[in-house]
């Protein structure tokens, strides 16, 4: 029995190592303020449930031009963060910074209005949609960047106004939506080709037997109805969830048979969404009504609709321990933006951290004790 004591000590130590996040107190995330060309490092204290701007990083080159930092991501090792700069001459760009020091590292030119991005755990490559918000209604691209060297490897042509780049947990599939063609698009992260498309309109629900393969949806001039703005794959199930910004709904797609399995009516104009890391909850920003919806995915039920601190809700980021959701709020005009913090256990808004104008892209960095 003497061996039990040291084993118990090791046991306790290792439990402590691997469950340290259960006692996390300090949460850090980045949020981009699109109309002030700022990126804020946000610190949130999980115990006091109070937050603050820890640091503000001015991004862009031109003081007299609003360059519009839009999307954010953090490298899987947490050492770097990346921000897409929407406006350029005329092309936008991707900028790389070191976390912690927040020092600029490098940048690379992308397409028109680059927006949301994610890094594949499998390929290590970064996939960023060129939203081309202000262009003609023509197909845009997803740019693929090697983030160590900031080499732009390829532009994969996709739909019109692509948005919401999120990658499956295994890193193999990049999901985004084509807002103006009502499509969910998936890219093979290795071959850098569009693997599948799915029409998200209800017309597609009603006539599943209809063969659309020859219909060239890409070039058909339908007015979009769903206007999808975000896609996020489930962490453990073959499901992808889409925000139907125009149709006020969440759409669940089974990636095994590539069929729509659920449509749930939401608040007005769901914009971004994120699924909790345990796969149980879905948090969606309702851009059109300044609220956040928290959904129980198993039940397909909205658990709460939580008013936001101001209008025009934007991004969603959930802490790795699934305790808090951080919602970026754009505001209107000269109103400051904000990050609303929602306690996912009490389903209450617990903090509002004011930011520079038009808080948009938001991404979690780290938890610390």
């Amino acid at each position: 029995m003497k061996f039990l004591k040291p084993l118990l000590t090791i046991f306790v130590f290792l439990i402590g190592l691997n469950t340290s996040h259960l006692k996390a107190q300090d949460y850090y995330l980045y949020v981009a303020a699109e109309s002030d060309d700022d990126v804020h490092l946000i610190h949130f204290n999980g115990q006091s449930e109070q937050g603050e701007i820890a640091e503000t990083i001015e991004v862009g080159t031109w003081p007299q031009e609003n360059e519009g930092p839009h999307g954010l991501t953090v490298s899987p090792d947490g050492k770097y963060w990346f921000v897409s700069i929407a406006h350029g001459y005329p092309y936008g760009s991707l900028w790389k910074y070191e976390t912690g020091t927040n020092e600029f590292v490098d940048k690379v030119e992308l397409g028109m209005f680059p927006a949301t991005m994610d890094i594949s755990k499998s390929t290590g490559l970064l996939y960023v949609v060129n939203f081309n918000l202000h262009g003609d209604m023509e197909p845009s691209t997803v740019s693929v960047v090697e983030p160590n060297t900031m080499m732009r490897l390829q532009d994969v042509e996709t739909g019109i106004m692509p948005h919401g780049s999120r990658i499956s947990d295994d890193g193999r599939w990049q999901y985004h939506v084509s807002m103006m063609t009502d499509e969910l698009v998936v890219i093979d992260t290795e071959n850098l080709e569009v693997a599948k498309r799915l029409n998200l309109s209800k017309m597609n629900d009603r006539k599943p037997e209809m063969d659309h393969s020859e219909m060239n949806h890409q070039n058909m001039k339908h007015s979009p109805i769903v206007k999808p703005t975000w896609a996020d794959p489930h962490p453990s199930k073959p499901l992808v969830y889409v925000a139907g910004n125009g149709s006020d709904e969440l759409i669940e797609i089974n990636t095994n048979n590539w069929k729509i399995t659920n449509r749930w009516k939401t608040g007005k104009a769901p914009y971004n969404l994120e699924i909790s890391h345990d796969g149980k909850l879905l948090v969606a920003s309702y851009k059109g009504e300044g609220a956040t919806g928290v959904w129980d995915l198993e039940a397909g039920k909205e658990l709460a609709k939580i008013p936001n601190s101001r209008k025009v809700s934007h991004g969603v980021s959930i802490s790795p321990d699934d305790k808090f959701a951080f919602i970026s709020m754009e505001g209107i005009g000269g109103e400051p933006g904000s990050v609303d913090v929602i306690n996912l256990e009490t389903l209450k808004r617990v903090e509002v951290i004011e930011t520079s104008k038009q808080a948009g892209g938001i991404i979690f960095w780290k938890m610390e004790n």
Binding site: M1, L4, L7, L8, I10, F11, L14, I15, L17, N18, S35, D36, E58, G60, T61, W62, P63, Q64, E65, N66, P76, D77, H87, G88, Y89, P90, Y91, F113, S120, K121, S122, T123, G124, L125, L133, H134, G135, D136, E146, N148, T149, M151, L153, Q154, D170, G171, T189, E190, N191, L192, K311, V312, E330, G331, I332, G333, G334, E335, K357, Q358
Partner: protein, 661 residues
């Protein structure tokens, strides 16, 4: 207890799983061939092998090329080279992070061997005591001209024709063979140097007493021994005896077309030479003496937000008004009564859904206003059309964002149409005859790769746009000046007339200028650049760039002849009235410049600056720092908007009368 131990053992394994993750640090990717070299037009198959030391591991490696146009690389490693250069390629064993292995390697695509060299622009005659440029095209086996080739020259008879730093110095009559060589290939040029027939140089210029900045054209003519004019190269130089000899900078400049301009007062000896024939002309240069005092008349304080553009106009009631935009704020445009320029009185505010009202324009009849929007909350920016017939009670007529959703940066109103710079790539032409029901009639967009546009200005039915790397572009949209343009353009049918680009790619503004004193026509191009970082409270001065004077002798013949460059400051918007330039020079404040007469060199060095004013305020959003956005000369005053401090009015005072004792 046994169960407890098992449980602890399981947890132990789970908890320490990350400690025993597969180590990929010993794994490498081997590429064959090594090094990788591919000739232009050739194709090869690369082979990639995952190695653990010497051990080969079976796995799939994928390839990615950074420049897929010039070096095509399939995922399977099939390479096709389209253009010479050095390319970076990525080989990747994908998988979870702890299994991922990556290798970056270079593919060399060598330049094709040189096939031939060819002398270009060979003079008809080589005359002794004359220096000539040597121009050689180096052509490779793909019939492409090699850029920046390594060239060597050799003369067979240096006493007749000597080579120095790529120039041929014809020393005395005789014959020589000039050999140009590059990478083992060469070509020859037979040169016969003739005796220089010039026996006399006659300078026709009679202006020998001028001011700094005045351009003298020597009009030198070479004559032979028979007194007849002959065609031989003439070279020009000068010797300066400035009045101020205390560490003086460059006193002036002379070009090889025989034009001279002095920067400083003094005596200058201008020399024209052809062979042994040399003629001097002595020029006396005095101060230009155009500087005038400037009086600050009024300040409309906007200290809490940044101020953007301005427009000043005479209202339908005969009073004078101004509109200013705001930047990065709440979407406000401010209206001012400026009838008394000493009391710039805010009279109305229009707030639109935007963060920035970047540009503000008023129609010529003073009834319609246009605001450009950026940062609308619904991301549908476009323009807002205003009824400004009563500037005390401005009303929004309508918003218009059809195809303009991304943000209109600048606009111009001309003959019931709005020219809206849209999407950073074009300007849309919008009919506002019925301002409540605007509609787009056409657009103008360049077709160059990656084209971009910043602003547009219209005068006499010609639109002058500023296009960053594509420079200034003139377009006939209904020319009223047949001397300048008669291309049949209209708002519905914009017709490009001409353009001019310059290397920096900083072109931000354009303004036409017909010199009243010379009749010369210029398109003045202004820069915007911030190579020194972003200005902020801690770094208020950071701009760069200058004003480019591009003389158009016909739309197909632009030539950049002069500049106005203030050191350590940068240009923004500008305006010309008569032969006077008004420049908002950001951290350099307002600069008023005499641009009369022929223009050459840097006008800043020539005493042409009439006045300057640096608007600052201790409580400004950036305190005590000028950052001047735009000027507008109006009636007897100059109104300026300053990014940090708001609206200002200033007045140029008459030159002081010379007194006598």
């Amino acid at each position: 207890m046994g169960k407890a131990v098992k449980l602890m053992a399981v947890v132990f394994v789970l908890a320490t799983g990350n400690l025993f993750a597969q180590n990929t640090s010993t794994l490498t990717i081997s590429i064959e061939p090594d090094p990788v070299t591919v000739k232009v037009g050739e194709e090869i198959q690369l082979k990639a092998t995952l190695m653990d030391g010497e051990k080969v591991l079976p796995d799939t490696i994928l390839f990615y090329s950074r420049n897929g146009y010039d070096l095509e690389v399939s995922r399977e490693g099939f390479v096709k080279a389209n253009k010479p250069g050095t390319y970076s390629v990525l080989a990747l064993r994908s998988g979870p992070r702890d299994q991922r292995v990556m290798k970056r390697f270079e593919v060399q695509v060598p330049f094709p061997p040189i096939a031939s060299l060819e002398f270009k622009n060979i003079p008809d005659n080589f005359y002794s005591k004359t220096t000539y440029d040597l121009n050689v095209d180096v052509i490779d086996e793909m019939d492409l001209i090699r850029e920046n080739p390594s060239l060597t020259f050799k003369s067979s008879n240096p006493s007749v024709a000597m080579i120095s730093h790529g120039k041929l110095l014809a020393l005395k009559p005789g014959k020589a063979t000039i050999t140009a060589s590059s990478e083992g290939k060469s070509t020859e040029l037979s040169v016969t140097v003739k005796k220089n027939p010039a026996s006399e140089i006659v300078i026709a210029n009679t202006e020998t007493s001028v001011r700094t900045g005045d351009v003298i054209t020597l009009n030198a003519n070479a004559k032979g021994s028979n007194g007849r004019s002959i065609e031989v190269p003439i070279t020009y130089s000068f010797v300066a005896q400035p009045e101020d000899n205390l560490g003086q900078g460059a006193e002036g400049q002379i070009n090889q077309q025989g034009k001279f301009v002095a920067n400083v007062p003094g005596t200058f000896i201008l020399t024209a030479r052809a062979g042994d024939a040399v003629t001097d002309q002595v020029i006396q240069v005095r101060e230009r003496n155009v500087a005038r005092e400037l009086e600050v008349v009024g300040h409309g304080k906007v200290l809490d937000v940044h101020t953007s553009d301005l427009w000043v106009w005479e209202g339908t009631d005969g009073r004078d008004y101004a509109i200013t935009g705001t930047w990065g704020a709440s979407g406000d445009a401010y209206f001012w009564d400026v009838t008394d320029p000493a009391n710039l009185t805010p009279i109305d505010t229009v707030r639109v859904d935007a963060r920035t009202v970047n540009d503000v324009k008023i129609s010529e009849d003073g009834t319609i206003g246009v605001l450009t929007r950026e940062g609308a909350s619904n991301r549908k920016n476009g323009i807002v059309i205003l009824d400004v017939s009563d500037p005390y009670n401005v009303e929004v007529i309508t918003e218009y964002n059809d195809g303009l959703t991304g943000g209109v940066h600048n606009a111009f109103i001309y003959e019931n149409h709005v020219y809206a710079v849209n999407n950073g790539t074009r300007y849309d032409i919008i009919n506002i005859e019925d301002p409540a029901n605007p509609y787009t009639v056409n657009r103008f967009e360049l077709d160059t790769p990656g084209h971009s546009i910043h602003d547009v200005w219209i005068e006499d039915g010609i639109a002058y746009s500023s296009n960053w790397r594509d420079g200034v572009v003139a377009v006939d949209i209904g020319s009223k000046n047949s001397e300048l343009a008669d291309a049949g353009g209209s708002p519905e049918n914009p017709v490009k007339l001409g353009s001019y680009t310059y290397p920096s790619g900083w072109n931000h503004a354009a303004f036409p200028f017909k010199s009243e004193s010379t009749g010369d026509f210029y398109v003045i191009a202004g820069d915007e650049a911030f190579p020194n970082g972003l200005p902020s409270r801690n770094n208020p001065a950071a701009a760069a760039g200058w004003i480019h004077f591009v003389k158009f002798d016909g739309w197909d013949n632009p030539k950049e002849v002069a500049r106005y460059q203030v050191p350590e400051a940068g240009t923004h918007n500008f305006w010309v009235v008569g032969d006077t330039l008004y420049v908002a020079y950001y951290n350099g404040g307002l600069r008023i410049v005499d641009i009369s007469g022929e223009l050459m060199g840097n006008l800043y060095d020539q005493g042409r600056e009439i006045a300057k004013f640096e608007p600052t305020h201790g409580d400004a959003i950036v305190p005590n720092a000028p950052f001047t956005w735009g000027p507008q000369p109006y009636k007897d005053y100059i109104f300026i908007s300053d990014w940090n401090s708001g609206l200002w009015s200033v007045k140029l005072l008459e030159p002081a009368q010379q007194g006598t004792n």
